[in-house]
Amino acid sequence: MTKTVTDVVCPFCGTLCDDLEVAVTDDGKQILDVYNACAIGAEKFLHSQAKDRITRPRFQQPDGTWKETSYDEAADYTAKMLAGAKKPLMYGWSSTNCEAQSMGHEIAEMCGACVDNTAAVCHGTTLIAVQDIGLPTCTLGEVKNRADTIIFWGCNPCHAHPRHMSRYSIFPRGFFTGKGHKSRKLVVVDPRVTDTAKMADIHLQVTQGQDYELLNAFRVAFKGEWLPDVVAGIPKEKIIEAANIMKAGRFGIIFFGMGVTQSLGKNHNIDEAIAVTKDLNEYTKFSIMPMRGHYNVTGSGEVLAWQFGYPYSVDLTRGFPRYNPGDTSSIDLLTRGEIDAAFVIGSDPGAHFPISAVKKIAQVNSVCIDPHITPTSGVSKLHVPVAFVGVETGGNAYRMDNVPIDCRKVVEPPEGMLTDEEFLTMVRDRVKKLKGVA
């Protein structure tokens, strides 16, 4: 016999779908099937059931082989490494719950560490722009019930946030959007003809790296000022047509992704996109929202901002928080050789950082806390496998629209395995002793 756990929250992307159903065995130890999830989300649940999963911490030996150890010894090593370093980096946090993040920040404060999350290579530029000019935003519920003009700028939800369009942005029939996708206009701005772009009413195939110019052209078009014949590869007439569609809707929203946040212009692209949103509110109601990637990267920003005042790249080395991406951001710290210890949790910089930064992780003392074997665990001195948040333990996570949702525990973790929070609590207690904090 099996039982079904309902209303399960999916710990994969920032859409944080909360309508999954998971069939588990009667003893609650094994997942049999996952319903309602997208292919990526389902895989995350099923992957946790792998028989060859690492269940105990392990040290990398000089010859590259691994030696199993206990959680106690792993916590000793981690605490000594962090407490003894002059400038340790504590990076990741986006694939764990807010409780673990908060515990990690306690350690960081005691050790004088730099704390950074995956926004550093993702939507960090968005956060810079938000600090510069603010953010007129809304919740995904408002998008579902009200939005009739949807703009996807530099993002491809068909593949990156697969259920975003069916749950919130394009297909659902909301309170004022009873005709579903028939009542919505879709504009996609992307240099590539993506699967999202193929669905668009208007696809603006912008020249790569010229999003800033196109956004600027929209603002000029709204004001009816002179425009060059072609901007960023788009003819003037098409820009004016798209500008009129944006102005004509009752409620519009710009969703944007890595295509604008990490291409040439970076934070200025978002700065200008927010200014476009502000300008559009002269004519209609318009909002803007970043398509956050990891399921709890938003939560990491929230917890960091609540505790230290800044949403990412926080430097606590001097005993008070400082923030200046470019100086205190992970890739700069690593490539410039500013840090002497690396602690990575709930993220995989080994796969996403430039090789010069990854080499630095390999050179210094390093700990990787991750349920999976990843390129990061491969270059770390110590790999601590933990239970999957949202599958084997609950905890709080924030959706891309800053709505907090409590994840559910679906099955038991393999025997003797700790959660992120439990392991970090062990490290915190040891750091307290080493630092002589009562």
């Binding site: 370093a85 004088g112 600027n216 603002r219 200025h268 080395t317 100086d327 840090i339």
Partner: protein, 266 residues
């Protein structure tokens, strides 16, 4: 003017934060007292004397104090930060935040400087004989007031985001700049003798930018007005005059809309 010479003898393993290397902090102190000023390497606090050899006593006030920094200070941040008078000479290259928030005096760097130099500069003079990094004379994160006064001369090239949120002062760059020159600028004057690739003066509200070289991609918000003859730093030449950013908000003065001015040499 009294001269204090500090020479790097023990380079840091990581990076050194030495915001006290500033005439205002040195003023009235003897060499021994200066060596006791604190510096940070990561989270570890120690003294200037641990890393530098200090010779010479400072003058009674900042204005009477000159600091000469010798040796390899490529891994030293915050040199000359918040200086209000006196002089700082760095004989080599240095790291982030050189001359940040300076309000007076003169700072000369004979090599290159990295990012965030002259952040929020209010006055004084900064001369960089090599290249400058990103965010030269820009605002600190989240601030809407970048460089507001003083003069910067870069003899080499400068990076991106130069003069972001600039509200006043003057900057001369003899070489090229990278993208996002004078974004959000609300005043001041920037002269670039070399080229600027793209995104020049985006969201600019007010101020003057003069480019002697090429601009690969012009912002759509800049509108050609006319050709003008200008005398810039002893050179008289014909410039194409553009105004903008027409997509951005602008003030009215005496009934006239005030735009940012962009001049490009023809």
């Amino acid at each position: 003017m009294e001269t204090v010479t500090i020479t790097m003898k023990n380079p840091p393993v990581l990076y050194l934060e030495a915001e006290h290397v500033c005439p205002d902090e040195f003023a009235g102190k003897t060499a021994a007292q200066i060596a006791e000023l604190h510096v940070y390497e990561g989270n570890t606090k120690s003294t200037l004397g641990k890393y530098f050899e200090v010779s010479g006593n400072a003058g009674a006030t900042a204005a009477e104090t000159k600091i000469v920094v010798k040796g390899d200070v490529k891994r030293v941040k915050y040199l000359g930060m918040k200086m209000s008078a006196g002089e700082v000479v760095v004989e080599g290259s240095t790291d982030l935040y050189a001359g940040a928030w300076m309000s007076g005096g003169k700072m000369t760097v004979k090599g290159d400087i990295q990012a965030f130099a002259a952040t929020g500069m209010k006055g004084g003079e900064l001369i960089i004989e090599g290249n400058a990094g990103n965010y030269l004379g820009a605002a600190y994160r989240g601030d809407w007031r970048g460089m507001s006064g003083g003069k910067i001369l870069v003899k080499g090239n400068a990076g991106s985001d130069v003069g972001m949120y600039m509200t006043g002062g003057e900057m001369v760059i003899n070489g090229d700049v990278d993208v996002h020159l004078a974004t959000h600028a609300e005043g001041g004057k920037i002269i670039v003798k070399g080229n600027a690739p793209s995104k020049v003066a985006g969201q600019m509200v007010e101020g003057d930018i003069i480019i002697f070289g090429t601009i690969d991609v012009m912002m759509p918000g800049f509108k050609y007005v006319d050709d003008v003859d200008l005398e810039i730093e002893g050179t008289t030449a014909k410039f194409a005059h553009y105004i903008g950013d027409t997509g951005e908000r602008h003030k009215k003065r005496k009934g006239q809309m005030v735009y940012g001015n962009l001049y490009q040499k023809i």
